[in-house]
């Protein structure tokens, strides 16, 4: 097997990183850039900091194997989700898996554990991750981070949510009144 191609990327604060092509391919954005011919030079990532980039790459490395096989097939199917991405199973799955054997179960368990450890991060890292995953178009990572953020919102009042995330209430008194009235049932 030929030695894997290494891609050079530069984050917004000027740092460069060298990463295997197969790993960065997990990012749809970078993948498209490479396919458009930018793979030989340095790929600029103006919306990603050097602080969060290694965390993103950690995710990509873990999920490379699924994308290897996806790369070979057409990349048009947007709905093709990460096989291992448990967090992509929301409520009803499109097609529940055929019975897993012991090996598969162990693999799923291991991934769950890895995800729990990976997502044990503070709020700032979470937001940076959300930002980066969105820009780099890494669906599985975005989903995982979004789930984590949602879990921090669930069950809180608007004021509590604002406090948790340091959000400014920019409604005018009239706007806020309207929001409350339109959905009075939820605020009872």
């Amino acid at each position: 097997m030929a030695s894997p191609k290494v891609i050079v990327l530069r984050t917004c604060d000027g740092e460069t990183f060298e990463v295997d092509e197969s790993v960065v391919y997990v990012s749809e954005t970078i993948k498209n850039m490479i396919e458009d011919g930018c793979g030989d030079g340095v790929i600029p990532l103006p919306n990603v900091s050097s602080k969060i980039f290694p965390k993103v790459i950690e995710y990509c490395k873990k999920h490379v194997s699924d994308f290897e096989s996806l790369k070979k097939t057409s990349n048009g199917d947007e709905k093709e989700k990460d096989k291992d991405d448990d967090s992509s199973k929301k409520g009803k799955e499109a097609v529940p898996d055929v019975e897993e054997d012991a090996e598969e179960k162990a693999r799923v368990e291991e991934l769950k554990e890895w995800e729990t450890t990976y997502m044990d991060i503070d709020q700032q890292v979470l937001f940076d991750l959300l930002q980066a995953a969105n820009y780099l178009n890494i669906k599985g990572l975005l989903l995982m981070a979004a789930e984590k953020a949602a879990s921090m919102i669930r069950g809180k009042t608007p004021e509590q949510i604002r406090e948790t995330f340091n959000i400014k209430n920019d409604f005018t008194p009239e706007e806020y009144e309207e929001v409350r009235r339109e959905n009075a049932w939820a605020f009872e």
């Binding site: 929301k90 529940p96 054997d101 930002q131 989903l143 604002r162 400014k168 339109e182 049932w185 939820a186």
Partner: protein, 418 residues
């Protein structure tokens, strides 16, 4: 948080699911309100989410669901699961379906509608991938104009539908992979209840509480079949040998025929009456079998037993064997006869419902046949009122197992009593 684009906020709020959480989040700030309006893809009204739902009248629920759905745009996954509601009236339900028609990819709806709404007709068809309906009637399926080009998963529970319509519905779903039918009310036209279903793309099927005289299922791509609590006289499964997983639990079927069983990997039968020679003939070619479970099975012929020699010879790849059935005194040794070992069996699960002396002997015999065993699980049913005799039995059983396992130090033993 301030710098996150509104689409990402929408993504986050879409993970909330529960409508009340979404509405409360929308009152946080302008960007979040906009996210809920224009970038929300999932909304769920589930009676389990919020206890106050139970206190609201049906009319109030209809109003709040309508108001909330109509504040969104581009909803992709809608779930309405209200167990305490008897029925919703047709008008709001039609409104919800029509409003989300263009973008809906997943729909879950479990409330009766009055008068009955033809959900299949009103809901968005073009993009629908997952449909889960309960407590409704489906009438008049017409595949010529009613097609579900993207539908992959169809779950119908307590649905009233004719056999013909169900069959037509499957043909209207060219990409369907998963079908679940639970307690359907199937209307038949003939005096003999025959159902014929055919789909080349179906991969996984789940049937529960189905009662039919004759059922012919043609599924060339079927990989997994689960039957629970069904009563069938004649069940014929036609396929191309793709079936890998078969699970039958508490089913009564007089005549079961599965074409091409060569690729079966898992067979799990429980509370099932088997005509062993016939059944065995059907699965004898499943040389790839990895897991076999015969639990609480009753043999049609009282003299029938499961003989391990046959199992060992026919299923060389077997790695997980679970057996629990009435051990007839004289027949245990007969079942254990034969030279062939179960080389690949790593997990053995053996169960009793009524403890007896024979059981320990049986365990011993089986352990001898599994040279590479890693784990043994003993399942027992312990009755609440234990007679002196039963306690004695259990005690002597425990002692004999302890002694036995000394010979098999590398085997992990687990006990599960219920």
């Amino acid at each position: 948080m301030e710098s996150l684009p509104v689409e990402v906020i929408g993504n986050i709020l879409s993970r909330l699911g529960a409508a009340r959480d979404v509405v409360i989040a929308s009152a946080t700030c302008r960007k979040w309100r906009e996210a809920c309006r224009n970038h929300l893809d999932t909304l769920s009204f589930d009676s389990d989410d919020w206890p106050v739902y139970h206190d609201l009248t049906t009319v109030r629920l209809e109003i709040l669901i309508t108001q909330t759905i109509f504040q969104t745009r581009g909803l992709q996954c809608l779930s309405i699961s209200m167990d305490e509601v008897d029925e919703f009236s047709a008008a709001p339900v039609i409104a919800w379906l029509m409003y989300t028609r263009e973008t809906l990819r997943q729909l879950l709806y479990n409330v009766r509608t009055t008068p009955n709404v033809n959900i299949l007709e009103k809901c968005g068809r073009q993009r629908l991938e997952v449909l889960d309906l309960s407590n409704n009637s489906i009438t008049g399926v017409d595949p010529s104009y009613q097609r579900f080009p993207c539908l992959k998963s169809l779950s119908l529970s307590h649905i009233s539908i004719s056999a013909l319509d169900l069959s037509l519905l499957l043909t209207a779903c060219p990409k369907i992979e998963f079908l679940s039918l639970v307690n359907p009310e199937i209307a038949m036209s003939d005096s003999q209840a025959t159902m014929e279903l055919s789909s080349p793309t179906l991969k996984k099927i789940y049937f529960e509480a189905i009662s039919l005289d004759k059922f012919i299922l043609e599924a060339d791509g079927l990989e997994s079949l689960i039957l629970k609590d069904c009563t069938l006289e004649y069940f014929d499964i036609i396929g191309k040998g793709t079936l890998k997983y078969l699970e039958i639990d508490d089913v009564s079927v007089l005549h079961l025929e599965i074409e091409s069983t060569e690729n079966l990997e898992v067979i799990d039968l429980s509370s099932f009456t088997i005509v062993w020679p016939k059944f065995y003939q059907m699965i004898s070619r499943s040389s790839k079998l990895r897991r076999l479970r015969l639990w609480g099975v009753v043999f049609d012929d009282e003299d029938e037993i499961v003989d391990l020699e046959t199992i060992a010879v026919c299923f060389p790849q077997l790695s997980h064997l679970s057996l629990s059935y009435d051990l007839k005194d004289g027949l245990i040794n007969y079942g254990l006869q034969g030279p062939t070992k179960l080389e690949n069996v790593a997990v053995l699960e053996l169960g009793w419902t009524v403890i007896s002396d024979h059981f320990s002997l049986w365990v011993a015999g089986l352990l001898e046949r599994c040279p590479n065993l890693k784990k043994l699980v003993i399942h027992g049913v312990v009755s609440e009122a234990k007679t002196h005799e039963e306690c004695h039995m259990l005690a002597s059983f425990t002692s004999s197992i302890v002694q036995l396992m000394r010979k098999y130090m590398r085997v992990e033993v687990q006990f599960e009593y219920e």
